[in-house]
Each structure stands twice: as structure tokens, then as C-alpha cells.
């Protein structure tokens, strides 16, 4: 008879969570106001208003198909690539609407980076992967590029593993290393916000732990938004949690509160595993 499953994030109470709930709410870096996303006729995101604080990790949780990835991709205009997708409402970065007139989506994505579910290194060397962004953005000095490469890889906790083979193919790295390389690649272009779409869902527990440590460290310098369907992960790394269901945002608040005292019945059902 196996032991009944315990929810690790509930076992130790609030102190196991990333941050005490009492900490004052930090200033907002990004915010959405009445955000709607449609795929053709399908209303994927329904009127979501959410504030995403600077230098904090915000987690978006919810069952598969609830729209959390769709919401995330609206935050750096990735939907621009999908002709049938339509975005309404506003998304602001430091108060400026990124969908506003005269805003260059390339510039938006320069400031708001993204890490994807499956690692997507370029078919180039490790070094080229990291410095590709800075190069395209105009950095030509080789010495400077080498420094950026090292700095980014150190920040992404990958430097020690790859420093002796910077010129070998990025495709030869393990899945977890590839994902950290993709994070390093993001850090190299110095974004202000990093969006992560289930960054560890394709990785084994050890690699996941490394990515999570990294996410937690990134909150010193960046606003991080992470989509995850692992509630334990949300509890471990995030300061704020927002629960999505069927395209609506049901509840948002400090992670400790959402997990221990959810105000909405549906949130409670989800985090206690009654559905999802």
C-alpha cells in the first residue's frame, strides 16, 4: 500500500514558500488591462487584467488549455506571427502600451525575452548561440562578445560545464544544458522582462532543479513571468501566482496566500488536485 500522496508545497506551511506573504507588493513592471486574445472565432483569453511586478517571479498556473501560454505570448507580441490570432486590450511595459501605434515589435521582444518549453538552440556553436543576439544588435568587438558570452553563461549556471567547448555545436548539449543555454542567450541581449513557457517541463528532476535555482536567482535583476503546470514549481520559485481557468484569470496574489488560503473555490479545487 503506497503512502498517500502529499502535496510538498503544503507540507511545511508558508515558510517553505519562496517569500513571506507579508512583504509589500513591489512596483509593477508590466501590466495588462482588459486583455483579450482570439484565435479566429475562439476566445482564448477573456478580459485579463494583471500586474506583473519588477524583480519578482510571477507564476501563471492552471490546467492544460486554460490559456496561460497564450497570455504569456501576448506579453511580447509573439502572436504577431500567427495571422489568425488577434489581441485586444492593452499590455504595458513601464506604462507604455506595447501594442500602441509606432511601437516596433522587434524592439518589444528585445526588451521582453522569452524562454520556450522545448529548448531551441540555433544550429550553431555554443559561443555563437550566446553572442548572436548582441552581434545582431550591433556589438562587433570580439573581446566584448567573449565577455558577454562568459558573463551570460555564468549567470545561467552553465559556464563551468561548457567553458572548454564553446566552439562545439549547441546541439550536442543535454536537454537541461540546452535550456540553460537558451536562458544565457536571452540574458546576453539584456532584456528587462523574461517570459518562460514551461521551461522545465521537458527536463528530468535534476535539470529542473537547476533551472528553478536559476529562475530564483534571476529575480534579482529581472521581472520573470513563468508559466507552469507544476504547482510545486510555482510554489518553489514564484512570489506571485495567478490562476487561469478556461481563458479567465480566476485569482491572483502572493504565492503563499494563493496556495494556503485561496479565495476562490475553483482555485482551491485545482491546487488540492480535485481537478486539472
Amino acid at each position: 500500500m503506497p503512502a498517500p500522496y502529499q502535496f510538498p508545497y503544503l507540507v511545511g506551511g508558508a515558510e517553505t514558500l519562496a517569500r513571506p506573504a507579508s512583504e509589500p507588493r513591489p512596483p509593477s513592471k508590466m501590466a495588462t488591462d482588459g486583455l483579450n486574445v482570439f484565435y479566429g472565432q475562439f476566445h482564448a483569453i477573456k478580459h485579463v487584467t494583471l500586474s506583473l511586478p519588477d524583480r519578482r517571479v510571477s507564476a501563471l498556473i492552471g490546467p492544460s488549455g486554460c490559456g496561460k501560454s497564450t497570455f504569456l505570448r501576448a506579453l511580447n507580441r509573439m502572436h504577431d506571427l500567427t495571422p489568425e490570432a488577434r489581441v485586444e486590450g492593452s499590455v504595458t511595459l513601464d506604462g507604455t502600451d506595447i501594442y500602441g501605434p509606432g511601437i516596433d515589435p522587434v524592439e518589444v521582444r528585445h526588451r521582453i525575452g522569452m524562454v520556450f518549453q522545448r529548448a531551441n538552440p540555433f544550429p550553431k556553436s555554443i559561443f555563437e548561440n550566446v553572442v548572436f543576439g548582441p552581434k545582431v544588435h550591433g556589438e562587433r568587438r570580439h573581446r566584448e562578445l567573449i565577455e558577454i558570452c562568459e558573463r551570460s553563461l555564468v549567470k545561467a549556471a552553465l559556464w563551468d560545464e561548457v567553458k572548454d567547448r564553446l566552439n562545439s555545436s549547441a546541439l550536442g548539449l543535454s536537454g537541461g544544458q540546452q535550456q540553460r543555454l537558451c536562458i544565457a542567450r536571452q540574458l546576453a541581449v539584456e532584456p528587462e522582462v523574461i517570459l518562460m513557457d514551461e521551461p522545465a517541463s521537458a527536463l528530468d528532476p535534476l535539470a529542473t532543479a537547476k533551472i528553478e535555482d536559476l529562475i530564483f536567482a534571476l529575480r534579482r535583476d529581472y521581472a520573470v513571468v513563468i508559466v507552469t503546470h507544476s504547482m510545486q514549481q510555482a510554489a518553489r520559485v514564484s512570489d506571485l501566482t495567478s490562476f487561469f481557468l478556461l481563458g479567465e484569470m480566476i485569482e491572483t496574489g502572493p504565492t503563499a496566500e494563493v496556495f494556503t488560503h485561496p479565495t476562490d473555490r475553483r482555485t482551491e479545487d485545482y491546487i488540492t488536485g480535485r481537478f486539472g
Binding site: 511580447n76 525575452g113 520556450f116 531551441n120 545582431v136 555545436s169 546541439l171
Partner: protein, 294 residues
Amino acid sequence: MTTTRSQLPFGRRPLTAHMRWRYGWSAVGVIGSGFCAGLAASLLLLILGYVAIQGVAALNPAFLTHVPRPVGVPGAGVANGIVGTFIVVGIAVALATPVGVFTGIYLALFGRGRFAETVRFLADVLSGIPSIAIGLFAYTLFVQPFRHFSALSASLAFAILMLPLIIRTAEESIARVPTRVREGALALGISTYSSTIHIIVPAARAGIITGLLLAIARVTGETAPLLFTAFGSQFWELNPTNPMAVLALQVFTYAISPYEDWHRQAWAGAFLLIVAVLILNVSARLVLRNRFEA
């Protein structure tokens, strides 16, 4: 112990008549299709072997280094035709590659709706047009107005012949670059232009080069369009605005001549062509095998 269905253990039951019939037809199908495959392969080997035997016999150093001589004069060669083939095909590649690759990029990444569909359809139609018709087209466009044959007009015909193959292979190999790699580039704040030029096209490089090699292999053996474009020449000719000797054309001229000596040279020329096409095909395979290596 035993079930009501069968008294015998599984594996010991006799086959039903229906199952015997099915296995019988299956065997007929396998043997029949194997025989057809063998036939196809042996025909190819037969041609290759026959051309090799006939060709190698007539091959000698002079054949590769000298220009043609009158019938019966020893030491005749097709060196001008070999060089001519390189010139005509080379110019055709220079003409067709940029147009073909950029069309492929357009179709794979940006082409949507009616215009792209039309381009795709026309490329398919173009690949089915007989090469002699394309030769006639090049003749009217490039030979008639200038009142003399030229290697350039042959290159134009070859470029048109190569175009559909280059377009479709470029499109396919670019479309096969995963969307997530494109998104990864865009998420770094990189413009579509930069990501296309620096990430997507290099990632599809192997496929593009393969298509190019196959297109070269296809036109190297083409003769029909050359009849009224490059026309042929008995002399060293390096100026592409003049008529020029091309190996495939020399093979044709020699083969229909009444002279035994020229027939032998035609075999040797045909052998050279087959070897060239074989090398191109094999290198295309090698390129494709090494893809996804950064």
C-alpha cells in the same frame, strides 16, 4: 484449461482456408514486387555497365585534353566540350540560384494565400515542361534577336530548367527548420530579416545545396535545349556570347554520325557524363547526411 473456442493450444491450430489464401496472396505480392525492384535495378546496372565498357575502351588522355579533329585523325578529344559544360552550367547556376533560393525563402516563410499558391503551382508546371520547349524559348529570346548562337542562351535554358527543382527543395528544407528555432530568434529581439539570413537559411543550408547539386546533375545531361542555343563548336571557345561546345551535345553529334571513330568517342563522352552525374548525386547524399551539424 482449454477454452471453448479451440481444443488446441495457440500456435498449434491449423490455419483456416481464408488465412491460407491471405498468406498465399501476400507471398505473391512480396515476390512480385521484389522481382520488379530487381528488374528496375538491373536495367540501370545494365546501362551503366554497357556505357562503362564501351566508354572506357575509347577513353585515353588525349580524349580529355584535346579538341575535336576530323574523322580518322588520331588524338581527337572533347576537352572543349568539358570546359564548355562547366561554363554553360556555371552561368546557369549563377542565374538560377539567387532567384530559386529567394523564391524558396519567400514560399516557405512569407508566402500566403493566392499568390504563393500560384507560384508553387507554376513551379510544378515548369518542372514538367519538355526541355526542348524551353530550348526553343531561349532560342526566340536570346538567339534570334542577336542572329547567332551563344553559350549564354544555353545557360538561360538550363537556368529555367533548374529553377523549379531549386525552388521546391529550398522551400522544403527551409520549412523544415522548426518554428521554435524561428521563435527563439524573434524572442531575442531579432528582426525577421536577420533571423532569416543568419539562422534559418544556414540551418537549411544542407537541403538547399542538395537541391542545387541535383539540379546541376539534371541539366548536365540535357541535350535538347543545346541544339539551337549553344549549337556546338569544333574549337576552343571561352567567350559565352559565341557558340560553344558542350559535352552532351558532342555525344549527340558523334552518335548520329556515320563514322565508327566518332561512335567510340560518343560512348566515351556518355561515360564521362554518367560519371559526372553520379558524382553529383553521391555528393548530394553526403551533404544531406551531414546536416544539423553546426
